[in-house]
Symmetry: D2
Subunit: 462 residues, 4 copies
């Protein structure tokens, strides 16, 4: 890397999952809009062809006048090539294919277990983790071997266990898991200020929050805008919109599988007194099955959706078409902020401005009451070459209990995956709040799900 | 107190719940058989008359030739009188009456929640705790005022929360909760040695175990007899008796509401790999409802019983008759060891011999992974005026998760009881593994249960 | 308080020690230059007259055109009046008088113990603490009674023990201790950049540091400016200036009792590898007596000074004259930044902009390896109504040992002061690295020092 | 191993340092007097010849009628041979020779540093540790390779660092460090009971104590005999004998380099209020130089001695003669208890009876306030295949500070030895309370001491 004033050149980024559609383009767009950084992005993907197409798309940007940040994109055939010399490693992969994801999400439905996402917790999240952990073991070892000083930013779900696997295998790794769900909560609070107080143009960055918990099950216990404590206003907001739910564009949840009307969040606030800072689709999956995901009617009554894998597949197909058009120059990458903060984070780590945001890193005491070493989500201060968690305090006992159950379950899943211990994995599976079915049925479901993902479980006796 | 060699005279014991039938007589018997101790027992009970009758029964022992330990029994009208000057305080009360216990156990059945005991966890255990905590707050304050240096031994259930309330209100209190369930596991291991290895006459004290967990949900991860590791033998034992269950007298579980065939214990061993050191009736209540307590048929298939309150009431009536006969001299207290270790413990605390046994005291690090300050059960070294927990290590992650959920729930119940916070209490109630029913139904059940126990909830808004 | 946009009116500040010369005027100046805040400052001082004069000086500012922030100054007779209604409490007092300080600093010299400051550690710091703690007990109780929600900013030395006393007596207090010594280290690093790299105009705020330790004995293990790691450059800097020392204006240390040539800091870096982030006069006092303070010649050779109390008294006299002139309008308060960050901190706490700086607060895990609850110095994130320490990591073992010794000694001093336990206080005294003299001599010295400060030790048996 | 009732045959013991004179014979004697155990002892020593002579001495015991425990002794040439198949490993070596010990003890005297023992702390203890740690690294690796399940009992000094090195290199090792110093304190208390209360025949095992600290700097905060609290009696005892000192045989300290009159212990009790449970010769070395070891006169005034290495050498010579006579059958091993508890410990670990005694093992929470993982000394419960520390509580702050300083210094020495980091080692050296001399002199002393021990510092740059 080479610094000149506030600009840094010759940055090397390794992008694992660099053949992705959507995520890769978002990064390209963000990099293109940032004038202070430039360098090379090495795209690595199990699907080399996809990475190669993306390299063409990425390089085509350099010819555009509206592009401020110039980057070279290279597709590479091996992890080693991607990682060697890397200053940053971005990991954003799909663990397995939609075939496995279909099993993760649909099979449990046969047993009465409905999942709105299926990638973080619940039977789907757990089996996805079992499949993903060996991949992350490999990455951790490769990073240790080829770029031990690089900063690693993980975007893949299950966020906690992906990040946690890296720190387990290579404890000195410089890593953080990044997720935009908290920004959603901040944006909601900004909307609330407009809706209830008539305050316009509040950006989500203007909302200061204290967050604590684990990814997709993070809680806000303090929120403010300038001198105003937002918690009492949020209470008012919940009271007003508890029944109807709240959306910027009312009814949107019915048209988008990714939207919700925040009714789950509102209900959790009424019950527990803190703001659960994630989308309803994620939150619902962490609670007992009977609460929000009992059956499709219940889900509908809470005004959110079960995201069908069909839909994801169809979207993927559209993206494949778009990819071809982009590569062929028939369409061009749109330059609009992705809503991720990856670039800001890289800038802070490069020394171009300290920055506070939420990250997923091992608990070194930033959350009291949760096990040290487990990956948790809180604010952190990002400085040159450093991510320093901000002390977030402790969750109220009753919420801590809900969260701790998942934390210990996740640690159990990690241990089971590393030991290839099916029995231990099943005990974790059985202890998930969504798996409150008969043990016999649970055993059958687990067995079938493992069978469907067995290609990704090397060394397992399944 | 006055020492002379290994004998101690003029010991003062305050017995709270001193009108009890059964427990009080057991203590009288144990004291009568111990030649090294003598003094005065002050019997205090909300039912003064019962305490008075017991004092007559107790004093009648002194006239018997086979009684080695001579004690004066006095019934007293107030806690102050009982506690003033006490060296030891024994607490063994029934919190409320069988009327409330009927509600604790039977009402949940209307909602499909079956409880085999209903005094420790589950809806019954939680509501019983809410009712009991205010009584223990009063006792803690009285002990602080009248005998802050006395050693307090608690026998009342819910053991953990009774003991925990005392330490919350008067942190310097010298207290331990004592329970014989672990001895049951040690006796089972002795039986096993006879059954599988033909080794006779092994006493339960000859079996060394490492215990860790919370009362009635304690786990043994190491067990030995002389040079023999008992864990592999226990595995063999479980394999042999998994289906049939094991009892000293086969079929006894059908004739006694307090017996079981250890099938739940065996099943937990198969699943988790450690020996759950409590009776099946208790163990079942800590696990998800669908496992062992789904319905009466399931219970029967696991070869244990739901203890009916009717039966407890009937037994109480019989004891009332026996009480009259004892007081009238028509019958006399039988001198046989009660199976409790209270006297041994007192002797150790008096300096008459160091002693290792299991106790319930606040976690000062004896169990890694569970919150400091919560009451846990492990071995401790008892010395003159001291109870020093032995480091028990850490539970495997998957079991720790099961136990931690109850620990945090119990701490939540304590907080709710002290704050008289119904909403918080309900959150704990809802998070109990047995309460996996619809929220609406749970709310109704909780409300009804509180109504039935409301006389014991001073200051609550119910 | 009343918010309007980014401006806050009607703020109430209680200033304890409000009759001070110098500190009070600095605050007045800083407030006057800040256009976003206004309100009332209540000046409380044991010397009411001094507070009253200061109120006149403060109010005179409002008539000036160059004053942007308008504040009313009131002198009040009681703590209660000062604190009632306060949003902020600023504490900046002289504990005792220069008479006691003379004893603190000069008496030990008779025993061969030289102190460059004598207000933080060493015999002087310890006796000063014993004298100050009862005053802070009183303040803590008053704050609890009259303004429990106010934010308290302490500037008085001994910083650690003043702050720590407040948290001991009123654990829920919102307090931080603030000290500018770290800024000095940041300024030195800025100078270094100019000196070695020719980079001009770097402000101390542009230097990002990670700090950990205790007040006046804080260590920097990471420092950067934009993308540059400053630690290797600092090593170069130390190598160049190790012998000569470094000063912006060479030789200044000979003309100012408050200056030094950083030779102690450089020597500590050579030995321990981290940057000790305080002035040499403070650092020297934390190390063994023979290192930097053996005798006046040794002190001179390290290019710093023993600050004579005579000098402080003389300066105080000059300030008294200046006070008169200011009150009489013959001179006016100069509007230049004081170098303290108090106003920035208040703004952050009011919600006018999050802010990271170093503070002294109880250790909640921000420094691993030092006792929880003891007051430590690290960075913190200041937000609306919150001070959230940033995790600073752990000191290397050998430095941790140096710091821990002082931390435990300080905790011992606190305990001794609260219990009025002379023997315990002496044990702490004896364990200070500067007190490596014969025990008999130490006893005599301690006794004489206590006698001299006895008026401030109510209830002690001295 | 083969069990038959309470007897165990075919036990394999590896004795490292098996050529030792004195220690090896003591073990032989203890084993010979124990009828329940038998098997083989493999003697390994850098001096093979010495081990071989000892094997002859050991085997000669089997022909005697008064020997109850029959053991085969074999001298072996390699660690591998000694350890393979071992059930127990006993380590009792002299690290280096008396030549190095002469340097450890005598060289510091040239700089005014007097050491009464020189094997645990102080300049001698630190340099001895640097020399010993590489040997223990080798042993740890060999134990891991050849007998990972064996129980290791260390007797070598510096006890803490020898044991700690083993746990650092092979964390799963089953090890405890054993030392008889605490028994000395218990014996003193028994003598006290006779002297002050006329109670005869109290054995040291009848005195129950709570111990906490580090080896040779352990503190007793509770002591009792039957129902009696011994602490108030000890206070009386100290008052009576403070000036004169106390010895069973008055004046013995003048005739034996290993005796003392407990005046240091008494003085520490007067100052700190707890009983320092080690001989004065050890205790003095942990305190500041000026207290008890200022010069030979001071030492004499405290009624203990500086043990000259000449004396040790002479004794060694005598033992060499005795060795020859024993091997030649001209003299025979005396069967009297050695005063060590090694055999009792082995029996407990074999399952022949649970047992509570003091051990040196890593801190897992048994002492609050000292770092986890550092080796500390407290009571432990020894069971079949297990050593379970008993929670000992926390030292008072002022004593904790004294102890923590040594703990952190020892950890620093370990780190320095493993990294071969001379500068770090020197920082630890300099921070020892005995090394309160000029830095320049300290540097020279350290350099000279290292030179003298350099043959044992492979890979160091010295």
């Amino acid at each position: 890397m080479e610094y000149s004033g506030n600009q840094v050149k010759d940055i090397n980024i390794a992008y694992i999952g660099g053949g992705s559609k959507g995520w890769a383009w978002a990064l390209m767009g963000d990099l293109a809009m940032e004038s202070d950084l430039s360098g090379t992005v090495k795209l690595y993907d199990l699907n080399y062809e996809a990475a190669h197409v993306n390299s063409m798309i990425g390089n085509s940007l350099n010819r555009r006048d509206d592009v401020k940040g110039k980057w070279q994109y290279q597709s590479v055939e091996t992890l080693e090539k991607a990682l060697t010399g890397a200053d940053f490693v971005i990991i954003s992969i799909l663990p397995g294919t939609f075939k496995e994801m279909t099993s993760d999400v649909n099979l449990p439905q046969e047993y009465g277990i409905y999942q709105s996402v299926g990638d973080t917790t619940g039977p789907g999240g757990i089996v996805r983790a079992l499949r993903t952990i060996p991949m992350y073991v490999e990455m951790a070892e490769a990073i240790k071997a080829y770029c031990p000083d690089a900063w690693v930013i993980n975007y893949t779900n299950p966020m906690t266990l992906c990040t946690r696997t890296l720190t387990e295998i290579f404890p000195e790794i410089k890593v953080m898991g990044c997720c935009h769900e908290i920004f959603g909560a901040q944006k909601l609070l900004a909307s609330m200020l407009k809706d209830l107080k008539g305050i316009e143009d509040v950006g989500y960055r203007d909302i200061t929050v204290n967050v604590l918990g684990i990814n997709h099950f993070t809680w806000i216990d303090e929120a403010s805008y300038q001198g105003t404590d937002l918690m009492p206003i949020y209470r008012e907001f919940v009271d007003r919109y508890y029944e109807s739910g709240y959306e910027e564009k009312p009814g949107q949840w019915m048209n988008s599988f990714f939207s919700s009307a925040c009714r789950v969040q509102f209900d959790l606030f009424r019950r527990y007194g803190l703001l659960a800072a994630s989308g309803d689709r994620h939150l619902a999956e962490f609670m007992p099955r009977a609460w929000y995901l009992k059956d499709p009617e219940t889900v509908k009554s809470w005004k959110f959706s079960l995201t069908p894998i069909d839909f994801r597949m169809k979207r993927q197909e559209e993206l494949a078409h778009k990819s071809k058009r982009l590569a062929a120059g028939q369409e061009s990458v749109q330059l609009k902020p992705s809503g991720e903060e990856g670039i800001c984070m890289m800038k802070a780590l490069l020394g171009l401005g300290d920055f506070v945001t939420n990250v997923n890193v091992p608990n070194q005491g930033q959350i009291k009451g949760l096990p040290l070493g487990s990956v948790v989500e809180t604010n952190a201060l990002l400085v040159r070459d450093g991510v320093k968690p901000v002390l977030a305090g402790q969750l109220p006992l009753d919420i801590e209990n809900l969260v701790a159950r998942h934390v210990l379950n996740q640690e159990t899943v990690l241990k089971a995956a590393l030991r290839k211990d099916k029995s231990l994995a099943f005990r974790a599976f059985l202890n998930d709040p969504l798996v409150s079915i008969d043990i016999g049925a649970a055993e059958q479901l687990f067995e079938r799900m493992l069978q469907n993902t067995k290609a990704y479980l090397p060394g397992w006796d399944v």
